[in-house]
Amino acid sequence: MYQFNYVKAKSLKEAGRLLASHGEAKLVAGGMTLIPTLKMRLARPSHLVDITQLAELQGIKLKAGRLEVGAATRHHQVAASAVVRKAIPALAQLASVIGDPQVRNRGTLGGSVANNDPAADYPAAVLGLGATIVTTQREIAADDFFQGMFATALKDGEIIVRVVFPVAKRAAYAKFAHPASGYAMTAVFVAQTGDGVRVAVTGAGPGVFRWKKAEAALAKSPKAAALDGVALDSSGFNSDIHADAAYRANLVRVMAKRAVAKLGRK
């Protein structure tokens, strides 16, 4: 690790101020991605601004059919939350398969969403449920938030405060984990919402995306078999030593079908 200055922010305002005054400052929450990155000397921030314990970023609440989860909520808290398990069990289940127990005890929702790793789990739920990302500056729809590999709509100095998930009628997450890293080799979140079916895919492409043709097919027939033969453009899919694009494309369909089958079981 390179040298940096660690600052524990006392408020969101202070955190924003620190980010604004130090161009090379970075936020740290659970640190499950950032600290390994620093250890490999792949980043060189001047300051780390710790926002994990800020009161504004805590809490899980169900309000008017919407589930609000504070950005600093750790994965294990979401996985274990009675409120989440009742409102959107698929979200709790997703949180329970992120990384490993030690990672879930540290990692946060806001950190995962802001980092937007193309193989992360949370972005699939955020996009699949059509959630809203509430920041220090505005509210951003999930459809506008994720912008490809490690890229989001967040501006410099903008901090995620909470994520607001509409409570879906039914939702399910099916993940094929990478055998070494535990990230999603490919995973699919399917949600039946008031506005129709949403299918979000993580791990397969350069960033989380919606498989809209599948959504259309499922709107007609909410059964796994409806996905047979639905076109899937895999041209930009990831290809690496573990899985090429064709295999990932297959996994998208298989995991989507499994998620749909899980929906039926609820």
């Binding site: 690496d240 030593i241 090429d244 297959n250 298989v254």
Partner: protein, 770 residues
């Protein structure tokens, strides 16, 4: 088992080493914290093949905290260039091994990603690493070759000027003409090309070494993780020219080895240079990423095999053509890839004619050395895959074809066609027990059930044998010290890296002396014994066969030498003295002389030694898998293992060794592999993020049984078994997956059988079928 029946080996509820290890009181190499120590950081090559044009250390030397920087110039000046190797086989047509030099720090040229270019020594690790980034190395890139077959091809980039064609050795074993004739006249020939992939042994403890130089004696002490100081000392001495008696070691707890912790690595030599030059202890702890790039790799063999059979399914001959990838330099650990694969070439079968040709290749990759089995899993993989493939082609049950070709029980001792002598085994009995345990006959029903659930089920079998226990040192030796409290200390060179020596050796001594095991304390590699004991390090499954047997002999010697002393004390003739349960008595008197009494004046010391030959543990493993055709993922749904390890000292320990070996083999079959980018030579699996280490649940349980035929090689009747697990699991697990896929017409698949690989194979088969 008559000659060992009198032994009762105590098995404590927990191992004697456990209390230390479960309370955080172990001492591993990175736990040393020496006064005044400096910290070393290696700058490593970021490319696979290049000339080093210049190194500018100016800015780095000025960095705060930096004490010194060493490069290849220093290594050459010190003469630390003669990396030892053990490829001492007679070459084909009189060829002699061409061994390249390897300066402890790269000099003039780097040949693999991660090769150490410079050693920065500073007051802190951070300072050393910060300074290393300021080192300016100017390279002139050269084309790299990472595939051994490509390296041997004409026109390949050449690694070493003195190793033409990148081939340091070509050698052969067996009778080429007899095999040729048998193949020509055979009713059936099975042909299969196989790769036993390159893997990273990955003991959980990263390498670490702190070197202290004593200027008065001009001697060195290395605080290091090692499988035993004798081999390390010999290799280091050969590498550096420092006399053996100037090399001392502090080796306490070792966090796994698997062959990878035997070697004298160049880093240790560079740290010696640094410790001497700075007159302070110099400490280096490897990161895991460094470890992937610079700790020796395992396996890495490509084999084309031919198995000739007659109409009745009797094997007539086998011919193998090997390409052995040894990485960028020859090391001392890879000789087993030739020795063990030729000495066990016949497997468990009576094969009249055998021939193998070996071409050793150098590539722009990490050097290869022994990894659990050191060639034994490779040869068992080759033979057992050929036999299962032949059975499928001949439409004969895979177990039945094996039975037809087994070396008969009454044919032991059996001399193989490559000249090895197998002592004993009961192969038909072993097979029967395994078939019953695994319910071989019920497989068809289970396959149907899986089919209904949409899964492809397969069953795989291996029947294997391996040469273990012999060792390279001229003898194994033990010293027993008995003190006035009656405590027994057993000194050995053999160093456990998880093997449980403290428990097993103590049990052997306690059994012989008939005393509670708690009174026996095993001390391994202690500094004050390092110029007294010169036996084998731990490796090649030899510790219990070698050091363990000498523990037994030494304990008997305590009794033998104690008798005359006890006789004096008791005032009788030595012949009248009997020993039992820690005391010498005469039949007539009630008086006793206790073991402790022998040491009243001073420690009672007994030394013993012995030389034992090779033992041949053998086993039959039967694996069942379910393949999910939608994802290509394989689940191990049943694992049965029947093993002949001879007499077993501690059943829990032996089962634990088998578990670990089995899962290392299964890990390799299902996912582990070191992968290099073919064009750039960059390693693509340099962390646990990409290297598929097996995790909990990969094999949920192993139903294991013993089928012992005690060895007479050792007075204990034991056979070396530390490597048996992976020797049997590598072929058994692969055969199971192939069996699951064979109905689709797939039979040529090679490890690692990752989900993607299996899924693609299924897709291709489906396309072909259409």
């Amino acid at each position: 088992m008559a000659h060992t029946a009198h032994h009762h080996f105590p098995a404590p509820k927990m191992r004697l080493e456990d209390t230390r290890l479960i309370t955080g009181s172990g001492k591993y190499a990175a736990d040393w914290d020496l006064k005044g120590q400096l910290h070393g950081y290696f700058l490593r090559a970021d490319r696979a093949h290049a000339e080093i044009v210049a190194i500018d250390a100016g800015a780095a030397l000025k960095h705060p905290g930096v004490v010194a920087i060493f490069t290849g110039e220093d290594a050459v000046r010190a003469g630390y260039v003669n990396a030892p190797h053990a490829l001492n086989f007679p070459g084909k047509n009189g060829m002699k091994t061409r061994a390249p030099k390897r300066p402890a720090l790269a000099h003039g040229r780097i040949r693999f990603v991660g090769e150490a270019v410079a050693l920065v020594v500073a007051e802190s690790v951070h300072a050393a690493q910060d300074a290393a980034e300021l080192l300016q190395v100017q390279y002139r890139d050269l084309p790299a070759v990472v595939s051994p077959e490509a390296a041997l091809a004409p026109g390949a980039p050449q690694l070493h000027d003195d190793v033409p064609g990148n081939m340091p050795l070509e050698t052969e074993v067996g009778n080429a003409a007899a095999v040729e004739q048998a193949i020509a006249g055979a009713a059936h020939v099975t042909r299969l090309k196989m790769e036993v992939t390159r893997v990273a042994p990955s003991p959980m403890e990263p390498r670490a070494c702190t070197v202290v130089h004593d200027a008065n004696a001009d001697s060195y002490t290395l605080h290091v993780c090692s499988q035993g100081y004798t081999t390390l000392r010999a290799q280091l001495s050969a590498y550096t020219g420092v006399p053996r008696d100037k090399l001392n070691f502090e080796v306490r707890d070792v966090g796994g080895g698997f062959g990878q912790r035997t070697l004298a690595y160049p880093e240790y030599c560079a740290l010696m240079i640094a410790a001497r030059a700075t007159a302070r202890p110099v400490r280096w702890v490897s990161t895991r990423s460094e470890g992937f790039m610079t700790d020796s790799h395992g396996r890495a063999n490509i084999i084309s095999g031919e198995l000739a059979l007659d109409k009745a399914g009797k094997i007539l001959a086998m011919r193998l053509d090997w390409v052995n990838d040894m990485g960028s330099y020859l090391g001392p650990g890879a000789m087993g890839h030739i020795r063990n694969t030729s000495s066990c070439m016949t497997g468990v079968y009576r094969i009249p004619a055998l021939y193998a040709n070996y071409r050793v290749a150098l590539t722009n990759t990490t050097p290869v050395a022994a990894y659990r089995g050191a060639g034994r899993p490779d040869i068992s993989y080759v033979v057992e895959r050929l036999v299962s493939q032949a059975a499928a082609e001949l439409k004969v049950d895979a177990a039945e074809l094996r039975r037809r070709n087994f070396i008969p029980t009454d044919a032991f001792p059996y001399t193989t066609a490559t000249g090895s002598v197998y002592e004993n085994a009961d192969l038909p009995g072993l097979l029967d027990q395994a078939l019953k345990l695994a319910d071989w006959k019920g497989f068809a029903g289970r396959r149907k059930k899986s089919e209904k659930a949409g899964k492809l089920r397969g069953i795989g079998i291996s029947t294997v044998i391996e040469n273990t226990g012999a060792g390279n040192a001229p003898k194994d030796d033990i010293q027993i010290d008995l003190d006035a409290r009656g405590e027994v200390t057993v000194h050995t060179v053999s160093k456990a890296q998880g093997h449980s020596h403290e428990t097993t050796f103590a049990a052997i001594v306690a059994a012989a002396l008939q005393i509670p095991i708690e009174r026996v304390h095993v001390r391994q590699c202690m500094p004050d014994m390092q110029h007294v004991l010169t036996g084998n390090h731990t490796g090649g499954s030899r510790s219990t066969v070698g050091a363990g047997s000498v523990c037994h002999l030494a304990a008997l010697k305590v009794i033998e030498q104690g008798k005359p002393l006890a006789a004096l004390e008791l005032g009788v003739e030595p012949s009248q003295v009997e020993y039992a349960k820690g005391a010498f008595r005469t039949r007539e008197s009630r008086r006793a002389v206790k073991l402790a009494d022998l040491a009243k004046g001073k420690t009672f010391t007994v030394a013993a030694e012995g030389k034992f030959g090779s033992t041949q543990p053998n086993g039959c493993h039967i694996v069942e898998v379910e393949v999910d055709p939608d994802t290509g993922a394989t689940d191990i749904v049943s694992y049965c293992a029947v093993d002949d390890c001879g007499v077993v000292i501690n059943h829990a320990v032996v089962a634990g060794q088998l578990h670990g070996g089995v899962v290392q083999g299964v890990g390799q079959v299902l996912g582990e592999q070191v992968v290099y980018d073919r064009a750039s030579g960059q390693m693509l699996t340099a962390s646990f993020m990409d290297y598929c280490m097996p995790r909990a649940g990969i094999v949920r349980g192993i139903r294991g049984e013993e089928h012992p035929t005690p060895s007479k090689v050792s007075p204990l009747g034991v056979k070396g078994m530390g490597e048996s697990g992976c020797t049997a699991s590598l072929p058994a697990a692969t055969n199971a997956v192939i069996d699951a896929l064979r109905p689709l017409g797939i039979d040529r698949l090679d490890m690692p059988l990752t989900p993607a690989t299996v899924w693609h194979a299924i897709q291709s088969a489906k396309e072909k079928a259409q």
